[in-house]
Amino acid sequence: MLLLLPLLIPLAAALLTALLPMHGRVRQAVGVVAALIQVLAAGALLSALPAGGRFSLVLGNWPLPYGIELAADTLSAALILVSALLGLAVMLYSLGRDDQESAAATPLMLGLLASVAAVFLAADLFNLYVWFELMLIATLGLLVGSGDPRRSEAAFKYLVLNLLGTLLVLVAVALIYAASGQLNFVALQVAGQWPEVAAGLRPYLGLLLLALLLKAGALPLFAWLPASYPVLPPPVLALVGGLLTKVAAYVLLRLAGQVFAVPDLWLEALGWLALLTMLAGVLGAAYHWDVRRILALHIISQVGYLLLGIALSSPAAAAGTAFFAVHNILVKANLFLIAGLMFASAGHYDLRRIGGLYAARPLLAVLFLLSAFSLVGVPPSTGFWGKFMLLREAFEQERYVWGGGALAVGLLTLYSMSKIWLEGFWKAHPDATASAGIIPVAAYAAVLLLTGLILVMGLYPEPFIDLAQVATSDFWNQGSGT
């Protein structure tokens, strides 16, 4: 039951807020309460798990491998907790926005939180596909919003490319079922021990990984991301941009690191792809001047780090990937929320049209600096520890080009962040008559919550690194897939 709670709570709250007629503010308040309860439930799940243990729940009254299994190990429980915390921050932030759309978005955000938790819990391939579809549906609702033509256009591009991705997942799941007769993760892992089954699965596994790379936003397949994210309102952007690509990267890590034996050549290719993804994202961000575009393109470069951690294929690299994913969910979402506050205060997202925020909003400037340093990886911040874990593993495996590339990308990230700092905060506002807009208290509370989490994780990283190592200790043990 403890296993189901983090999934059932937001799902029930989503239905409640969608079906019952209630005032917009009440709906938003219910959203905050539901997110808070989800945080508590996820925390209870994580603390109830013994170190390295795994809870499993088989639904449908059939024994394994026929029943539908939901399972939580330390990795999934920790990621559910982080996504719930992000959900809480986003719901709090929405409280400060008194418009029709924020209230209407509450059930969809709760639905997104529920489906993300379910993806983390899913222990069979078809269930995974279904929850990916539900994630897509909730995200589409959030993208369309009030239906203004720009949002519809963004939703259309997002829909076409992501629907292709989920259809590829479905086809790959069907083919894997045809080749092995299994859908359950553990059963697939066992079936993969036979070399002839593993060889038969390989082309279909390739299709599945390709579809997940599209969902994660890897190099040639990320066109949907800059086409849709830059028109979203800040809380939606923080939730969608903070979570979705990371969820796909988690599934890649789970499947490649624990379930299937991935050939070494593919991992080699993935490493180079990761490097190119990092560079493409960060160079795209360097060109742009719109804060939301800069941050959205940085998602792509951060996904590159996660893919690098998967390509390094060792328990230590998997721990680094897990830590980096947690860091990135929190920091990226926080930066999106801060971008929303910059807009509320200065009146535009484009850095050429704003300025003077350091004088007008010193607290906001400090909060931005803390998150920006974390994203760049200045010690001691979460980004530093995450990159340190990944880079140490890269250099230990003598992958000097991958590690060096990741360091160079860090420098270019610093360039983008200092551009936002210099143009948005430091220079005077181009319109001398502009007055600073009002920032609601609830929005500040949301940003302070996330910043607090980032600071704790950065200044006192040891328990979190230990947790990441425990969570991923049995990854990459399924035998080498040559």
Binding site: F126, Y129, V130, E133, L136, I137, L140, V144, G147, P149, R150, S152, E153, A154, A155, F156, K157, L159, V160, L163, L164, L167, L170, V171, V173, A174, L175, Y177, A178, P226, A227, S228, P230, V231, Y287, H288, W289, D290, R293, F343, H348, Y349, D350, R352, R353
Partner: protein, 128 residues
């Protein structure tokens, strides 16, 4: 039977790829729906099609008759059809909404989120 299924699957995939590559938004959506149908057919093909014997254990027997149909792909396809139908309806409303602002329904006209650069060095400003 198997040959018929494979042939129709191939025709379906070929037609949907042709439609998806079109710039017309309606054709694109129809192509995606057809590809969804092809994917469902693929799931169906994955699980030993051909038998029409229902997968019910007869009274007194302990196991299924070995020629019984495989119920799992049917359950999977049913789920996938429901989701695919919902997404098809949604995308039709979406392109209808887009068509109100652009009667040509040309995919190349969808540049509002990613406006073309006019300056050689700097990106255009997008009003919030």
């Amino acid at each position: 039977m198997m040959l018929m299924l494979i042939l129709s699957l191939s025709v379906l995939v070929a037609a949907s790829v042709l439609l998806i590559l079109s710039r017309d938004t309606l054709r694109l959506v129809v192509g995606l729906a057809m590809l969804g149908g092809a994917a469902n057919l693929m799931v169906f093909l994955a699980g030993r099609p051909g038998s029409i014997l229902p997968p019910i254990i007869a009274a007194g027997a302990e196991t299924l008759p070995s020629a019984a149909a495989n119920p799992l792909p049917q359950a999977l396809v049913l789920t996938a059809i429901v989701i695919g139908f919902a997404l098809l309806c949604f995308s039709l409303v979406l392109i209808a909404n887009l068509a109100r602002h652009d009667a040509r329904q040309d995919g190349d006209d969808l540049r509002a989120v990613e406006p073309e650069a006019t300056d050689p060095l700097k990106p255009p400003v997008m009003e919030p």
